[in-house]
Amino acid sequence: MLKYIFFSLKSLKITLRSTVISFILILITMLMFNSLIVLGQDSTKTSSAFLNMEDVIFLSFSHPKYDPDDLCKSVPNIKAYHKISSNLTDIDTTMCASLYYDKYVLQHFNFDLKNGRMIKDSNEIIITSALGKKYKVGDTVSIMYYTEYQEQKFTEKTVCGVLSNDIVFYSSSFGSEITASEFRVNLDDPDRFIIGNNEGCGFITSDECFENPFETDRSIIFIEPERSDEKSISDLCTALQEFGCVYKGADLIKNAKNNETKNIKDYRTIMIALAILSSVTLFGHYIIDVYRRRNEFAIMYICGAENKNIYAIEIVKMIALVLTASIIGTSLAYLLIQKTQHMTLSPVGISISCGFMLVYILFSMLALYLVTKKEDISEVMKGE
């Protein structure tokens, strides 16, 4: 067997051009397959903590004459509403769109602690799973923020918990409606939290040690539906429609998903086309290669090889090629996707890779079987 392995591996070097073509085709196929799986996961499943907010109503408006607090207070049966404000902060050198919430809003997020505990003191921070790859409970992280006078400041926080959520909300869940706007902080609320969010990192910490960002004339009001009357919410929405925008959580989530999947759909079409093209070319290339090398098989046959010996030599060669190209292709796919989507290695992806390798080897063996079975060795030798 060891002799076959040496002979087979030498074949890879000898037929270098064919090897390189096969290698690139397998690489492209694996890259496309795995990217498709990762992107598929992204559009169908997410670990965003924002997913629980389907029933929540968000009101966003910037009418200079009206104070949103007063508006909400004037509508009976609206019992719980909270304001959200935003600012920019840097954590781990990544700029995050940071939204300020009060503790009631916080309860509505689908936060799931993987390690540690929730925040007990103002110097503590909870980080998302993506940041959790770099930091662990007990580590110190540095946060850069701006004061209301645009002065840059730093504060240090100790990690007290790591979430199993990858991100806090979709990058485009609020889109331009919220993250790009300026919001007023509810200065009266003594119990504020700040949630930083970006692709690749996210955090929750107490607002206490941050200096207040400047106030703006734009606010978002978050209404708890279970503590408010449905009709009152509806009335309020109607009343505020002319001053700003009314969003239902479900719509925001839907929009966010649509925004995320819009580009993905285009990529997916290209990837499917490339995956099919490269797979078909790969099989076609192998069939031509085997047909071209039928004299080689005839030589082996007259030197005493059985068909199974020829298959063994080809299988060893193919496994070496497919395995190397698949590992590199799969790793490359995850590395590329992680840069933008911070996805983790999927068992489905690995299974598909293994499945593809198996199918490729089986189909190739079938091609080899057909060529060696149909071909009359004596005819091949005569035709040399």
């Binding site: 000898i14 004299n295 030589i299 082996m300 005493g304 059985e306 068909n307």
Partner: protein, 223 residues
Amino acid sequence: MIQLKQISMLYDDSAKRKVTALNNVSLQIGKSDFIMITGPSGSGKSTLLQILGCISKPTSGQYFIDGHNVCGMSDREIAKIRNSKIGFILQNFGLMPYRSVLDNVQIPLLFSKNRSISGSVDKCRNSLKKLGMEQLAKRKVWELSGGEKQRVAIARAIVNEPHIILADEPTGSLDPANKEVIMQILSDIHEEGRTVVMVTHDMSLLSYATRVVRLNGGTLSEE
């Protein structure tokens, strides 16, 4: 050592008509024979050599090597005979051009049991040394001249120490000087005690043979 009894070979031509390549051929070849098979084109010379080399199975008749009936053997047993008892030399060399001389000579040893890698390399080098080709071991076959290629093919044919050497027009693609060299090598192989069966059109080479048989229209006659 080799016995053919009433061997016939029929095949379908392109128009699906039955063509008789060999018709009741009987032949006995002894251990120290150097047999040349001659005859016009299409007389069945190569077909006979392929049957002797266990590449084709006859339509009817019996073929014995060392008393064993090859026609009743499994593919595995036949492959073992091709590997251990027969060495083939072809007119167009039958080499893998992009592989090295050493790799080509090593092919029969790949399918031979109980042969280590280092043992195989030593055997190949010895075989090449016998033919004065040792210094070309690492060269690619396509870089060699016709005469050198045929010597590599002979080195491959003898590397597994077979008793029978089958040569299908081994000098057909060579110039007169190389023709002489190759015939001398085959003669030396015969003198070592091996059986050589050679197909040729070239009547000037018949003097090397201990026996000459003629095939005409699939029928054998001894000269």
